[in-house]
């Protein structure tokens, strides 16, 4: 990069405030024509300048905003679908601009990739420079210390030679963590000291760790996967690709890496608030008790999955992200033969778990049968006559079913959701405009299907020997399901390591002051030797003045209070500084290169 006049200057982009001012000549000189390499160098210089980095940062902040205004496919896919149906004309336009995938969009990626290239262009020369600085000696003591920050002076302690005082200062500074170097200029012994190299180290660690996070997320994340699976109480699931309801593999994921362990949901316990009148029915706790069986063993291990407490097993993390009811429904044909029986997960629609589910009976009936069901764990009737649920737990569970007959649309091999029913190719038999009442069941009850098709039963799931629906106790009459997310993210540990480095680097780079301190035994015109102390802030350093004063006090005793002779000496020694009071205002000012 550009040559430095001061070997001690921090290697920073040209427009860093610590860098020397650009000379006025350079701008006015007619630039020679740039060749190709010239242009590349020019572009690189521009990209790695502070101003560009700053603009890219601000651009990044602005570019992140739309992702919070428009639903994102990554975090809210249903919201995107909804947005398309609400804004049929605007949505495709936004989609073309990648507004539903902002954080993976070309424009967002371009900004942060440029930013990181700029960052690399900054880190590399600075690292090299810092490495050199770590081995360099502190610079020569300036001729006039009185111009510098925190300047103060003390009389030479009784009976000590100038040399001895400086040697002692060097030792004390070294003990205080300074790197020291003795100089002897024009017969005036002095020590030059510098400390706080960690500040730049921290800064470099911080920026490198940011880069590390990007790499860890970008590459490491590609080896993981995320899958979702709904499991009903008493059922199990094997960790294989086909078993997932939905599966999002990373770019480099290989499904041969899936460890096919078995996870069985033995019990899902939901606790709701019953005491606090203002929070009746609010969820208090969800606990999924599971059994894990490894591929090669028959041994099962008990485990527990709770919200905030994932189960980390066989290299995957199992999260409990949702739950609901899964009524067991049995359909019999006209002869009383069972043609269908299954626990159907019903998706909760509100806080009191009014839930919707779909039963599909593809075989065994004259026509395919579909049922859209509403489940109310504690059913009440609103003034309008509509049903609703008033409490999320099983107090008075009611299931209503609207029956459809016809073509379920699943024979063509087209994938369809188990949670929706397409009624366009079916005839509605109950509910709605049919004039036939919907089927209404409580656990343990059976009703006839319309048109003499057979019967449908809402099975009571209460385990044997416990008070069941027949006894009026519905508390265990319906199974619950757990919606598990199963993840594997091998980069996660790395991201955490880099995050810790970021915090550590940030703390060090913002709070460790980098400063130079000089002590000189200056000879006055009258032959008297006076100890001079001064400092130089390199970067933000609000405590510099005090640090210099404190060191002077420690080294040569406290300053004599307002000694007029003394003040006179100072003026004498530093005729160039007319007021002798330039120091106080420079606290926190950037270091000016001095040689």
């Amino acid at each position: 990069m550009s040559p430095r006049s001061d070997p001690g200057a921090l290697s920073r982009p040209d427009d860093h405030i610590d860098s020397p001012e650009p000379s006025a000549d350079a701008a006015s000189v007619t630039q020679p024509k740039l060749g190709f390499t010239g242009w590349v160098r020019f572009a690189w210089r521009q990209l790695t300048s502070m101003r560009t980095a700053l603009l890219l940062l601000l651009l990044l902040a602005i570019a992140a905003v739309p992702g919070s205004l428009v639903p994102q496919r990554s975090s809210d896919p249903n919201g995107v679908t909804q947005y398309f149906s609400d804004n049929p004309r605007l949505a495709p336009v936004l989609d073309n601009l990648q507004m539903f995938d902002v954080y993976t969009s070309a424009w967002f990626s371009a900004i942060y990739l440029l930013l990181f290239v700029s960052l690399i262009g900054c880190i590399i020369p600075r690292t090299k420079h810092h490495f050199d600085a770590l081995r360099a000696r502190p610079p020569r003591t300036p001729a006039r210390l009185a111009r510098l920050a925190g300047y103060t002076e003390r009389a030479l302690p009784e009976g000590e030679t100038a040399d001895a005082a400086i040697t002692r200062a060097a030792a004390e500074l070294k003990r205080a963590g300074y790197r020291v170097e003795r100089y002897d200029l024009r017969g005036e012994p002095s020590v030059s000291a510098e400390r706080g190299y960690l500040r730049e180290t921290g800064n470099l660690v911080f920026h490198t760790a940011l880069l590390g996070i990007l790499v860890a997320v970008g590459i490491g994340g590609g080896f993981g996967f995320a899958g979702q699976r709904v499991v009903v109480e008493g059922q199990s699931f094997v960790n294989t690709l086909s078993a997932f309801d939905s599966f999002n593999p990373g770019r480099f994921f290989n499904d041969a890496n899936l460890d096919p362990y078995r996870l069985s949901l033995t019990d899902l316990e939901a606790v709701y608030e019953t005491e606090n009148q203002k929070a009746l029915g609010q969820p208090v706790d969800f606990t999924a008790s599971v059994e894990i069986t490894g591929r090669d063993s028959d041994e099962t291990v008990d485990g527990e999955v709770k919200v905030n407490h994932p189960l980390r097993v066989h290299g995957t993390d199992v999260y409990l992200l949702g739950n609901g009811y899964a009524p067991t429904i049995t359909v019999r044909d006209a002869e009383g033969e069972v043609v269908f029986t299954d626990a159907i997960p019903f998706l909760p629609q509100d806080a009191n778990l009014t839930s919707i589910g779909v039963v599909k009976v593809p075989d065994g009936m004259p026509e395919q049968l579909g049922m859209v069901g509403f489940f109310y764990p504690t059913q009440t009737t609103l003034d309008s006559g509509a049903y609703s649920s008033s409490y999320p737990d099983l107090v008075y569970p009611v299931l209503t079913l609207n029956v459809y007959a016809g073509d379920l649309g699943i024979d063509g091999g087209k994938p369809t959701s188990v949670y929706t029913l397409d009624p366009s190719t079916m005839e509605q038999l109950t509910g709605g405009a049919t004039g036939v009442d919907s089927i209404e069941l409580m656990p343990g009850q059976t009703q006839d299907l319309p048109n003499g098709l057979g019967t449908v039963t809402f099975e009571d799931a209460t385990p044997d020997g416990e008070p069941n629906a027949a006894d009026g106790d519905y508390s265990q009459s319906v199974d619950r399901f757990a919606s598990f997310d199963i993840h594997r993210d091998p980069s996660q540990g790395w991201v955490l390591v880099f995050a810790i480095l970021i915090i550590a680097g940030l703390l060090v780079s913002l709070f460790i002051p980098r400063r130079r301190v000089w002590v000189k035994a200056a000879k006055r015109r009258d032959g008297q030797v006076v100890l001079e102390y001064a400092g130089l802030a390199r970067g933000e350093d609000p405590g510099l003045d005090e640090a210099v004063a404190a060191f002077a006090d420690r080294h040569a005793g406290p300053a004599p209070a307002a000694d007029p002779d003394h003040a006179h000496d100072a003026d004498d020694a530093a005729p160039a500084s007319s007021e002798g009071s330039v120091a106080p205002e420079s606290a926190g000012d950037p270091a000016k290169p001095t040689t």
């Binding site: 920073r12 427009d15 601000l58 809210d76 954080y103 919200v307 905030n308 915090i503 703390l507 007021e579």
Partner: protein, 351 residues
């Protein structure tokens, strides 16, 4: 009375005392303007009477604590009552001594803070957990921290920053008022998603960050006003004699704002990371561009920009101050609009 009712009563008491403090601080600002004006008049009069060829363009500082060592025209205090009446030309900063209203303001702030703290603690006791699990409680604790940071900085800082009291008590009063009127919810149990040690850490650090960033914002605003005034002085324009004359210069304000803001920035960085660790346990991923995560990121990037701006030639000073102001605006946006109107996983406002 239940604990929660006691808490509410304490909140209203604290608001009343904050209001008194706010008035006292406002009176103090008005008095500062008057002092600045009279000092300028006195200076003009003294210069005129001495018929001294005063170099008006050279600002120098005279005050009770600073000896007049400068080369500018020294004005003798005319009929000097107290320290406040000595001044130089319009360009001078005016020393500002004891102000009864300022002392009342600080005393009332301390009293309001104590009531506020008691309100927060009783709310926590009533709920049987940390008092920052819904929007009302965030606001209650967040404003408490803003006041705490202000009082802490008063104790720690070498500079007299009591003049920020108008802003701090005003902001706290407004936020508390909105919170109690619009966001209040009675004590309800924690939803399972919030039952985590990270609730204690993540949310507390976030509110602490807001406390520091609020102070940085206030200092940046005053810095901009001061810097505008200084520019006008430098161009020898007529300057309105405002309370600004009694405040530190813009460079000092900028340095103070920076120091407060970087503490806020570090806390915010920690908030972001603690949030990511919590999100990993609660939602199965450490980062998912949830709306709240997006805005946390935006705030972080804006303040990162602020810190870089301070190190970029041409951006130091007013431009970086504007970034601090934009930064705090995004913090407030995140707290209010994002919480209330944006759809996302951080749906814990309780409203």
């Amino acid at each position: 009375m239940t604990l929660d009712e006691i808490s509410i009563t304490l909140v209203y008491s604290a608001m009343a005392v904050y209001a008194i403090a706010f008035i006292a601080y406002a009176i103090d600002l008005a008095r500062r303007s008057a002092v600045a004006a009279s000092a300028a008049d006195a200076a003009a009069a003294s210069i005129a009477s001495a018929e001294a060829p005063a170099t008006v363009g050279a600002p120098a500082t005279v005050g009770a604590t600073v000896s007049g060592g400068g080369t500018g025209a020294v004005a003798s205090a005319k009929g000097g009552r107290g320290a406040a009446s000595a001044a130089l030309s319009d360009g001078a900063s005016v020393a500002y001594g004891r102000s009864p209203s300022l002392r009342v303001g600080v005393a009332m702030t301390v009293l309001a803070w104590a009531l506020h703290l008691a309100a927060d603690i009783t709310r926590g006791l009533a709920a049987g957990r940390v008092p920052w699990a819904n929007m009302y409680e965030f606001a209650l604790t967040g404003t408490l921290i803003i006041t705490s940071v202000y009082l802490l900085v008063l104790v720690v800082s070498k500079h007299d920053l009591r003049f920020l009291g108008t802003f701090i008590t005003g902001l706290v009063l407004v936020l508390l008022g909105i919170a109690t009127v619009n966001f209040y919810v009675s004590v309800v149990p924690l939803p399972p998603a919030l039952q985590s040690a990270w609730l204690v850490i993540h949310v507390f650090v976030a509110t602490s960050a807001v406390g520091f960033l609020a102070l940085g914002f206030a200092l940046s605003v005053v810095q901009l006003m001061q810097s505008r005034r200084e520019t006008m002085l430098a161009t020898a324009k007529q300057v309105k004699r405002s309370f600004l004359a009694t405040l530190p210069d813009s460079a000092t304000l900028e340095n103070l704002a920076y120091r407060v803001t970087i503490i806020g920035f570090i806390l915010w960085t920690f908030t972001l990371m603690a949030g990511a660790i919590w999100a990993e346990a609660a939602w199965g991923r450490y980062w998912g561009w949830d709306t709240k995560e997006v805005w946390t990121f935006i705030i972080w990037v804006v303040y990162a920009g602020y810190i870089h701006a301070r190190a970029t030639r041409g951006w130091r000073g007013s431009r970086s101050a504007w970034l601090a102001i934009i930064g705090f605006s995004t913090v407030m946006f995140n707290f209010t609009v994002v919480n209330l109107f944006f759809k996302g996983l951080h749906a814990y406002s309780g409203l």
